[in-house]
């Protein structure tokens, strides 16, 4: 009787851990102030077709795992966790793609500005030309900077601080130094300084791109390793299941399967989240 009680306690702990993970994800999503994709109601970010796909994927994985472990509690936990985690995983992926697009825009902005400043030595006209080529939110921030240039040094510094906060790359900061001094202190910017800026931009772009590729490979490796581990586990369980007699050993077996399945799914989600948040960091 004690053994069965312990198994029930472990199952209760698993349910508690699953709920804690969900609450933690909700809490950390709310705590993060800078969100590119809005997430008021998580499911409202997806069209119906995507929601059906998420539902089908969750159901498919649950049914596959149910063939490993025929346990209602485990299946319900897995299904609920997937229905909760998959939308966040997809949103994290969307944010990553947006961040990559923003990084491309940042490099385009800095490179074009460096070239135009070298030719025209006029920050205002260079900004106006460059702003037309930008696709992401950087275009709006640059437009705000152009407007701030007309309003004086203080407004320009404030606008630059917003840009540096939204796009924390050193090439942006260095470019702002040049723009500020060119516009308000009529400093004579020589070509060596612009060349230095261009070299720094090229170095940053190369480093971030190389890392993007490396991390994509690591992410694919991680997903394949997880899938291979699941399949290996599935084959192994099929072989040893008959060895477990009904009773306590079978309960341990069920609990062990539930622990493995849930921990692997949760770790997959958090590793993917970590990957998505670090692809374009300087």
């Amino acid at each position: 009787m004690d053994k069965y009680r312990n198994v029930l306690i472990i199952q209760a702990v698993l349910i508690f851990v699953a709920i804690s993970v969900i609450l933690f994800v909700i809490y950390s999503e709310k705590k993060q102030k800078k969100k590119i994709v809005k997430r008021r109601n998580i499911y409202s970010n997806f069209p119906l077709r995507s929601l059906v796909t998420i539902f089908a994927a969750s159901l498919g994985v649950t049914l596959f795992l149910n063939s490993v472990e025929n346990n209602t509690i485990t299946s319900v936990m897995v299904f609920s966790l997937l229905m909760f985690l998959l939308p966040y995983a997809l949103l994290n992926n969307q944010e990553r793609l947006l961040r990559e697009a923003i990084f491309d825009d940042v490099i385009l902005y800095c490179q074009n500005m460096a070239m135009l400043l070298k030719q025209s030595h006029n920050a205002y006209s260079s900004l106006k030309k460059v702003q037309e080529d930008l696709q992401t939110s950087l275009a709006d921030d640059v437009a705000a900077l152009i407007a701030a240039l007309d309003n004086g040094r203080e407004a320009t510094i404030e606008s630059m601080a917003i840009i540096e906060k939204n796009y924390p790359y050193t090439c942006i900061q260095n470019l702002d130094v040049i723009i500020l001094h060119m516009q308000f202190e009529h400093a004579n910017i020589n070509d060596s300084l612009i060349m230095l800026l261009q070299e720094d931009i090229d170095a940053l772009e190369k480093d971030v791109r190389d890392n993007k590729i490396k991390r994509r490979i690591l992410r694919i490796q991680y997903i394949f390793i997880t899938a291979a581990c699941f399949v290996t586990y599935w084959f192994f369980i099929k072989q040893i299941r008959p060895s477990f007699a009904d009773g306590f050993e079978k309960e341990i077996f069920k609990v062990g399967n539930a622990v493995y399945i849930l921990s692997t799914l949760v770790s997959l989600f958090f590793v993917d989240r970590y990957f998505n948040s670090t692809t374009t960091k300087e």
């Binding site: 130094v177 004579n188 192994f236 040893i240 050993e249």
Partner: protein, 263 residues
């Protein structure tokens, strides 16, 4: 006396220990020797200075010592109550108490090292901001204007340097004060400041040459710092990739043990 009879090797250790302590206080050991570093760890010289270097500027030495002693006693108490340590294990208890007491000192050393690593990572960006302004202004003015652009951790150092240069604009002393504040632990600082000092007292042609040298080493260092940060992230992802394998191995071992037990 009973203790000495129980542990007779103490007779051998005591005179040896006395000789080492006398040699330590007479500075007889070379600075880089492992024994000297170990004895520094035991002696805990300049705890207050270490706390400031580790970033604990709001905590007094007394309160930190009380915390250390209290924590060590708590651990011993827990071990006495739950861990099965008895009155006969006094040497073991003292050893554990000392280890717990020292652990918080080692924690300070680790915090100081992490802080220095962080400063070493931010320093190239700080000097880079100054070097950009050196293209537009003389060196001393560039330092003053760079206060708004340097990383937060170096603002105080730049402000102090500007004040010191105002008082003594011709010598290297203001720059040396900044280097000495970090006791040579910021590897790039010495070379960069010497370059900037030479620039401040050279012709414009020579300045271009010094600036080019400075920026070349700064760019290399920035790339090295960026590479180190990225390698750390990549290795974290690689290690995290071991999680499913470890989970699988653990589950298989547990199940095999249960199966073997059932059989």
């Amino acid at each position: 006396m009973t203790l000495l009879l129980k542990y007779p090797y103490i007779f051998a250790i005591i005179p040896f220990a006395i000789v080492i302590v006398i040699a330590y206080f007479l500075d007889a050991f070379p600075k880089s020797s492992v024994l000297k570093k170990f004895l520094d760890l035991i002696a805990e010289k300049d705890l207050g200075k270490l706390m400031i270097k580790a970033g604990l500027t709001n905590t007094s030495v007394v309160s930190y010592q009380i915390l250390r002693v209290g924590l060590a006693f708590m651990v011993i108490l827990i071990l006495f109550v739950f861990g099965g340590i008895g009155k006969d294990d006094i040497i073991l208890a003292v050893g554990i108490w000392l280890a717990m007491y020292k652990l918080l000192y080692v924690f300070l050393l680790i915090k100081e090292r992490n802080r220095i690593n962080k400063l070493n990572q931010e320093l190239p960006y700080c000097i880079k901001a100054v070097s950009y302004l050196c293209y537009l202004y003389p060196v001393n003015n560039a330092f003053e204007k760079s206060i708004d652009y340097v990383p937060e951790v170096f603002k105080y150092d730049i402000e102090t340097l500007v004040k010191d240069i105002d008082e003594d604009p011709l010598t290297f002393a203001p720059y040396k004060k900044w280097i000495d504040r970090y006791e040579g632990k910021l590897t790039l600082l010495d070379g960069c400041l010497r370059n900037l000092y030479r620039m401040s007292s050279s012709t414009s042609k020579e300045q271009d040459k010094h600036l080019a040298n400075l920026n070349s080493s700064l760019s290399a260092e920035t790339r090295r710092v960026r590479k180190a940060k990225n390698d750390s992230i990549n290795s974290t992802i690689t290690w995290l990739g071991m999680i499913p394998v470890l989970l699988l191995a653990t589950m298989l071992i547990v199940l095999i043990v249960v199966v073997v037990g059932a059989l």
